[in-house]
Amino acid sequence: MMKNGKKVFGFGSALLALTLAMTGCTGGGGSSTVSGEAKGGEGSTAEAAGNAYVLGEQPLEFSFYGHYDWYTMPNWGEDKASEWIKANKKVNVVPISSGGNAKQKLSTMIVSGELPDVIWTERGADVESLRKAGALVPFDDYLDKYPNLKKWAGQETIDMLRSEDGKLYQFPNWYTTQPNGNAGYLVNKKIYNDLGAPSLETTDDLYDYLVQVKAKYPDVVPLEVGQSAGGVDIMTSAFAENRPYQYSSLSMKAIPSGDALTSVFTDEVFRETLVYANRLYREKLISQDAFTQPLEQVEQKIITGKAAVYVASSPTEFGAIGNSILSEEDPEAGYIMVWPVHKEGLDKNKIFPGTYNQLGWNVSVITKSAKDPEAVFAFLDWLTGPEGQRISMWGPEGLYWDGVDEEEAPKFTDAFTSDTKGRDELMNSTVNLQWVGNTVYVDNSKMKFESTLPEDKKSWETKWQSEITWKTQYDTTEFVNLNPAGDTNEGIIEQSVGEIYEKAKAQAILNAGSEEEVLAILDQAEKDAQQVGYAQLLEYKTQKWKENLEKLGR
């Protein structure tokens, strides 16, 4: 049985010598194979240089690896979208599975020098280390030959995606130039109306409302904040204007102050939010299982209407399902969203519970294992363009859309609104193929269509997106890539500070008995963090932030 992580002391120098000799053949081969393949790759693109690759003329096959424990790529060709692509564009994608163990899997692929052709992963340390080892193919030569990425992502986004050597290796997913995202406050309609639909504008209003809910509905959770009390993070947006929750979240832990990034533990807004949350928790106005519930418990509560207010980074998922189930039984029931809550005295139009950034969610990189990287790029470029997006989001032409208008937006057919079951089935089957999502195109097409529909046919989600959420998401592009790689000194500090942060936040909400105690916990956390080198980490992040600002020309 093989267990990773159990260590050795060595059995004898003769043995060691023998094994070292053997590793000479196998271990060292890792990096040399990679560069060996590089030559092969460059050779074949030479023929394509000059003329653009035309998708669909030749059969194209490449391997695709999603670097996530939970991601399973569906079999290519078994759903309507990839079936069409396979038949019409002659593209076949071979899945490489992470097997539930992405980190180990990728490490073995790197060590053996056999990387998949395309790796789909988060931006950051993994991409950088692959690039530094010379494993990735740069896209600079391709940008001008293929229209879509350049056009839809824009120069700024592309520059932000460039690596330290100035070249572009990352193909973004769900990149955007307009706000998108669903973060906000979901409110149980029935309970709200029942209690007289009071104003829910300020944090004090919210508090009063929650108290009312608790008194009248003992079985209902007044404020649901999701797993690991994620909703509390979102609520930091209520205590300051123009304040994305990112600043005080686990990923960033750095508050811009002037032109430097400062400690999260001493930040007034973070402290105030935790005091507020702690008070809500103590008075049982926040779900008591905030830090221990599995996702399905949250889902259950929302879907069965057992929460009065739900604040999260994407409450619309459960909200939509809950709304349809609850309103089926009782037309008065369901969910609505309210304009983001804010502290008394702040301008409500400057409150941003959600965040997005231009670079989108993650990226695809093409490795030097690819026999024809330019062809792969051409495919990804097509996939991110209007035609590719139409087909991968909504299926081939003739089913749920027929023809396009002058802006290339699809003209949805009646089946789109009448056959919701079939439509949802198709969309569920293709969602795992959306590797290079084009937010602007998709959202605009959706909105355009929705505006032509009568009220009762409009999608619940898009209604709230257009009315509230898309207007209240903050652009945090300048704060991307601030985190150091895990195995550097700063990375080690990041890890330690992160643990201090998590513990302090949980203790402040769960255990503190009063406002003083919350602040005391945070003060202690600041001390502990400084001891492990927080100041050095903040300096690193400030540096990276300044570099971003330069790239963005701000």
Binding site: K7, G10, T292, A506
Partner: protein
């Protein structure tokens, strides 16, 4: 003349046959063990050079040949980590608790099952008892979390209905409950499966001995203690030695899933979860290897100690 030489030669070989010759005589026995040993050499010893990672700043891309050597740097960092003593304490405590309760439990279950006369009942209970072993911790932890939930969790509802508590207890947010929850679920999950081995051992006990003891007036309890237990003692001891050697493996998936609440970290973090979080998640392979090496060394020491203690009963591993 020849006779005497011959006799002397015979006496010589009788008195001191060479090692080589003795070895040759039992070649068929050696044939049973040498190929497997070679196999073990190939698959377990050849890769052992991986331990060297602990003394390098290993990089996946440079490989062993290209990564720089840093001596004991990672060991120093590991021992100097502020969480080090907490982690060690948690590992030892949780492991001892699991051993204290989880080791006898399957034995007791096997003994109990053995007393059951009704064969259908016995077979059904045996089969059911080992089901939890097959449920992954993802599923089991989901269950436990919903049972211990403050919102309609069965445990809290039961306690409230029995008027033992007024308000639900937030079990998974209170450090004092964690070890109990961990050990209880762990024992429950493995008890059935682990008892199988003891059942097999008990199956080898001569039933006539029980009858004889019964006729002498020994009650069930007495029979268990004087007959069954001694008969399966060799198996118990072997497992005990191995369990002690494994003391530093206090759990992994169960702690990761049940102890996800940060307030539990001070009591829940054990060696394996600590190394996973700080080492592997951050691509610090060398650091993780160093910590693991430390764990292996201690484990071997414990094993040797346990084996030595067991020698007296004649049931040691070597």
């Amino acid at each position: 003349m020849q006779n005497t030489t011959h006799r002397v030669t015979i006496e010589k070989s009788k008195a001191k046959p060479s090692l080589f010759k003795r070895f040759g005589r039992q070649w068929d026995l050696q044939l049973m063990v040498l190929p497997p040993l070679l196999f073990i050499f190939v698959f377990s010893y050849i890769p052992m050079y991986g331990v060297l990672m602990a003394f390098q700043d290993y990089s996946l891309f440079e490989g062993f040949a290209g990564s720089p050597w840093v001596g004991f740097k990672h060991f120093e960092m590991f021992f100097g980590a502020p969480e080090f003593w907490t982690v060690i304490r948690n590992t030892v405590v949780i492991s001892l608790l699991k051993l204290l309760i989880g080791f006898p439990a399957p034995i007791i279950l096997a003994l109990l099952l053995n007393e059951v006369r009704n064969r259908v009942f016995k077979k059904v209970v045996q089969t059911i008892s080992y089901l939890p072993h097959f449920l992954s911790w993802v599923i089991v932890s989901g269950f436990v979390m919903s049972m211990l939930s403050t919102e309609n969790g069965s445990v809290n509802m039961l306690l409230q209905n029995l008027n033992l508590i007024k308000e639900p207890i937030n079990f998974l947010s209170l450090p004092e409950y964690f070890w109990t929850i961990l050990v209880t679920t762990g024992v429950w999950k493995e008890i059935g499966f682990a008892s199988i081995v003891y059942l097999a051992a008990i199956a080898g006990v001569d039933p006539h001995m029980h009858e004889a003891a019964a006729m002498d007036g020994a009650g069930k309890l007495r029979q268990i203690f004087s007959i069954t237990l001694p008969a399966i003692l060799p198996v118990i001891i072997v497992f005990l030695i191995l369990a002690i050697g494994n003391l530093l493996s206090a759990g992994f998936e169960d702690i990761l899933l049940l102890g996800s609440n940060p307030v539990l970290r001070d009591v829940g973090d054990v060696l394996d979860t600590y190394v996973y979080r700080t080492g592997i998640q951050n691509n610090r392979y060398s650091y993780a290897t160093a910590a693991g090496l430390f764990k292996s060394l201690l484990g071997v020491l414990l094993l040797v100690g346990a084996n030595y203690a067991a020698r007296k009963s004649g049931n040691s591993l070597w």
